[in-house]
Structures are given as C-alpha cells and as structure tokens.
C-alpha cells in the first residue's frame, strides 16, 4: 500500500453525515455527488478548498449519523484521498473502506492547519507532519488493507467468489 501525501483541510468534532451529504442531495446521480460534498456545513464552500488528493483532518466521531454511502462517495468524488480523524463512526468508517476511500484514526488536529501538507503511511501507521514531527497510531488492520488494496469491497467479493471476468475496472471513480 502506497503512502498518501496531500494538502490538508481541517474540520472539527462530530462531522455528521447530514453535513457531509445533506438529505436533499441523496438522490443525485453518483457522478454529481462530489458537487454536494460538505454542503451541510455552514459557511463552507468545499469546492473552493478541496483539491484532487486532499486529506481531511478531523476530530472525534467523524461520519456520525446516517448510513448513507453517498457521504464517503461524495468526499471521494470531490477529490479527498484520505480522512484522518481522532475517531470514526462505525458505519461511515466501513462505508469509506468499502468504496475505496481510506480512513485512518489518529489525533493530529493540534499539530496542523488547513493548507499544510502531510504524508501518511497506512501500513506502518505513521503520519509525517513535517521534518521534525511524526505521529504514530495503530496501522490499518490487515483485513481493511486487503479491501483497500482490492479497490473496495465489491472487488474483494468478486475475488473471493472467484469470478473470472475482471475485465472492467470496478473502482468507484
């Protein structure tokens, strides 16, 4: 698994799924969901701060609320490559992994600000904040890395069901 390097967008505690992807946008087609990422956060125009490959850094309980998979899909489509948070709500965490959006539990809010660039090694659990500071947290489990390496749960299920026809790319782009 590669290291992930990117520019940070700092968020906060308890970012809930209504903020990540509001109810009114839930029936939008997949390709459009990125336009609505973080639309539920007051005073935030996410498209103005997000860039391809950016990393969200948040506090506790990221993704709390609904099971809507539209939430992590919207983030991925808006360019988010990784979410680092002090803690994740269970369903959001599993959904993100299942659609191929890595998530990593680490408490780094106090060390960073929006616009900083960090590098994250998900296999070793090391976040390189800068030349002087590295934060070590529990790495992703083997099971999670397996799903992410496959590109998501569907790919993994296909492999596990031993389906021969893998011609098409199955990643949610």
């Amino acid at each position: 698994m590669d290291k992930i390097k990117g520019k940070i967008i700092v968020l906060f505690d308890d970012v809930d799924t209504d903020q990540i992807l509001p109810g009114y946008a839930m029936a939008e087609p997949l390709e459009k969901l990125g336009d609505f990422a973080m639309a539920g956060v007051p005073d935030m125009v996410f498209s103005e701060v997000a860039s391809s490959g950016c990393i969200l850094v948040a506090g506790r309980n990221f993704g709390c609320g609904s099971s809507r998979e539209q939430a992590p899909i919207a983030l991925k489509k808006a360019g988010v490559a990784l979410v680092v948070a002090k803690g994740f709500s269970r369903i959001f965490r599993r959904n993100a992994i299942n659609i191929g959006l890595p998530v990593f539990a680490s408490d780094i809010l106090e060390y960073v600000k929006t616009g900083d660039e960090i590098e994250v090694d998900l296999e070793l659990g090391i976040i390189r904040i800068d030349d002087n500071l590295e934060i070590v947290s529990a790495p992703l489990s083997e099971d999670v890395r397996k799903t992410l390496d496959c590109g998501g749960l569907i790919e993994r299920v296909r492999v596990e069901l031993r389906i021969e026809n893998a011609a098409q790319s199955l990643q949610v782009k």
Binding site: S67, N95, I99, R158
Partner: protein, 393 residues
C-alpha cells in the same frame, strides 16, 4: 459469554467468541430502502452473480421519498422495481410503511437472528431480540450476494434497569436519557445490552424505540436481553427508571439532552409525530389522547406520520384520524415523512420543531439554522396544543 456473544457465536457456527474476534455470520434478512437500494443495486450488478443468496430473505422498501418528491427519487424507485422483478425479491411500495416497521410486521427475525439493512436504524430489531446491524449500500450488496456478514465481536456495555417509568415517561425518554449519559461516541464499535427487572414493564414497541436510537449513541449492536444481570460484560450502568423525567434533545445533536422542564415555554412552529423511532400505534395513541376535542395551536404545523399502513388502518378503525384532523393536524401517508429533509414538511430558518424522530443535526429537515428538538410523542403532542415546548402531563 454475554447474550450478544452467544448469539454471534451461533451465527458464526463457533463454540465461543471473544471481543475483537473476526467472525463471519449467517444473515437471516438483507434489506434496503429507496435511498440506499439504488447504489446497492449498482454494486450488486458489478459483483457479477446472477442471483441473490435467497430471494425470500431479501427485501426492498420504498419509504423515504414516497410519493417521489423529485424525478431522481422516482428513477431510483424504478431501479428497485426492475431489480425486484428480475431477482424475485420482495418489494414493499406505495405507502405500505417504513422499513423497520415492515420488518417487524412481516419479516420478524427470531431472537438472535442477524438482520442486515442498509440503514443506520436497523438496530430497532434489538427491541424484539434480533441482532440488527446497519450497513451501507455496498456492504448490503455483498450481503445480498453472499448471505454473510463479516464483523469484529464487540465489547459489550450493559445497562441494567430497575424500577418503573413514571406515567408521562416513555421509551423515547429512556433512550434520550441514555444519550445524555453516554454521548455520541462512547459506544462506537461496542454492543449495548439492556437487561434488568425494569425491562419487564417495557412493551416491545417501546423497546424498539429505545433500540432505534442506539445508533445515535454510536452503538454497533443494541439489544434487549433478559431480566437477569449479565456478568460477562465490559461495564455496567445501573439505572432506576423511576428517577427519569420526560427528556428532550436540544439542537444540534441527539445527545444534547436535558429534562423537558428546562426548555419548557420555548415557542415552536412545527411538530412531527412519527418515524421508525416513534410511528407505532402506541405513539399515534398519544396524539389521539392529547388532541381529542381540542385543537392544535394555530401557529404550529402538526404532522402525524404513521409508520405503516397497518397502523394507519388501526387509527382509522379507532376514529383517531378524525380526532387528529378535527384538531387541525395533518395525517400523512405512512413513510419517513420529513425526518431527514427530503419532503413532506421541510423547514426554514424561522422554524422551531419538536419531532419524535431521531436526529437533529444542522440541516436535518432542510434548513441549517432551524432548531429541531427530539422528544416523545406525548411531549410532542402536548407542545402542539400549547404552541410551546411543554412537559406532558
């Protein structure tokens, strides 16, 4: 092992399981609704299998946006209708009801059976003894294909109940109170097991209400156990039900809970009584009792949303619909109503809502500044009459 561990061991065909253990469980029912099924269908087709694991055990429900509020919502339902015909699965549609209520009425899982639904309130089935695990669309698709769910055995927190609820205190007040104790992330990846002599007088409908909001506390599995105290748990919280008063969650999180008395008097503009949390006959009865020969406050939109056609039929038979309409309130079609902001009662910045639903995050009902208070049907009905947040008598 505690009861949750015993059930999981059986589902995984193991003699014994321990916390954190990775297991694969047999599923009794897989289900999804009109917000989660469309993506699930897409993902299922990508797997490449030509059938679901068991058509009798896969259920789709149109409940969130029925009748369709937008063309996109309608497109999603067409997808479900086509899939249901193609794969021979059950589709509940056209106002039959909310998914968690229909699972209870039509596909009631046995105690200890595993129900996997693409919806966070799947934990509702813990109220009738089943293990309900909420998942996303992709995991639901995998479950439709394989009939199995992988998970890590959770550590379990026990809530041991004694005493009896006061006459104006209901299941909703209990789970709101638990929210004030635990917060929204203390129970992440954990199981919540509710036991003790206090559960004897909690009827199944109220148990479902309590388990329904377990997800708001972050709990992975919420389950009613037995009256016996479990010893094999990570921790136990002892609660005397008789000490609890009516509770209410203030904006903007379900765990921001205080006694209703602390916010009594705040003027309101909308009341919603219904949802998978509180849309059952016992909940509708609170509206009927409160509104009989009275009228709701002229400044309040009062929306009553039964959770299923069966419940609505019962309300008609008992004359409750007439009572509710004569009081100036509106009876909506069975479904999710305005709970999550897609239709049937959106709000604006000026609105202050008392709802029996389960979430009050900013923007939940359509406007980020609107205030949503979560409460029991009794509290909501009392408030609809006075036009202010009111402690029910």
């Amino acid at each position: 092992m505690n009861l949750i561990e015993k059930y999981l061991a059986r589902l995984a065909d193991q003699e014994e399981v321990v916390p954190e253990q990775d297991i694969t469980c047999r599923i009794s029912y897989v289900a999804a609704h009109d917000v989660t099924a469309p993506i699930g269908i897409l993902m299922f087709r990508k797997i490449g299998v030509n059938k679901v694991f068991d058509p009798e055990r896969v259920i789709f429900v149109v409940d969130h946006i029925y009748p369709a509020a937008t063309q996109k919502a309608r497109d999603g339902v067409w997808l479900m209708e086509d899939f249901a015909k193609e794969f021979g699965i059950q589709l509940y549609h056209r106002g039959q009801g909310v998914i968690h209520q229909l699972m209870y009425e039509k596909h009631r899982a046995k105690p200890g059976a595993l129900v996997v639904i693409a919806d966070s309130h799947t934990c509702t089935c813990g109220g009738y003894g089943a293990i309900g695990i909420g998942v996303g669309s992709t995991e639901m698709a995998a479950a439709m294909a394989t009939g199995k769910l992988s998970l890590n055995v959770p550590k379990v927190i026990q809530v041991y109940l004694t005493g009896n609820m006061k006459h104006n205190v209901f299941g909703k007040d209990i789970i709101l109170y638990l929210g004030s104790l635990f917060g929204t992330d203390a129970l992440v990846d954990k199981g919540l097991l509710i036991t003790g002599p206090g559960i004897s007088n909690i009827p199944v409908e109220e148990r479902m209400t309590i388990c329904n909001m377990g997800t708001e506390l972050g709990s992975m599995i919420t389950l009613f156990g037995t009256t016996d105290r479990e010893m094999d748990v990570e921790a136990t919280k002892d609660i005397d039900l008789s000490g609890i008063t009516p509770q209410i969650a203030k904006p903007f999180t379900p765990a921001n809970v205080v006694p209703v008395s602390k916010v009594a008097g705040i003027p309101i503009t909308q009341v919603v009584i219904g949802s998978c949390t509180n849309g059952r006959l016992n909940d509708m009865e609170q509206a009927a009792i409160a509104f009989r020969k009275k009228t709701v406050h002229p400044d309040v939109n009062t929306l009553i949303v039964p959770a299923s056609k069966e419940i609505l039929d019962q309300m008609e038979t008992r004359g409750w619909c007439k009572i509710i309409r004569d009081a100036g309130a509106t009876v909506l079609n069975p479904g999710c109503g305005s709970c999550f902001g897609a239709h049937e009662g959106l709000v604006s910045e000026r609105d202050v809502v008392v709802a029996t639903t389960n979430r009050n995050f900013p923007g939940r009902m359509g406007n980020m500044k609107a205030h949503i208070y979560l409460a029991s049907p009794a509290t909501a009905a009392a408030s609809a009459l006075t036009g202010k947040i009111t402690v029910p008598v």
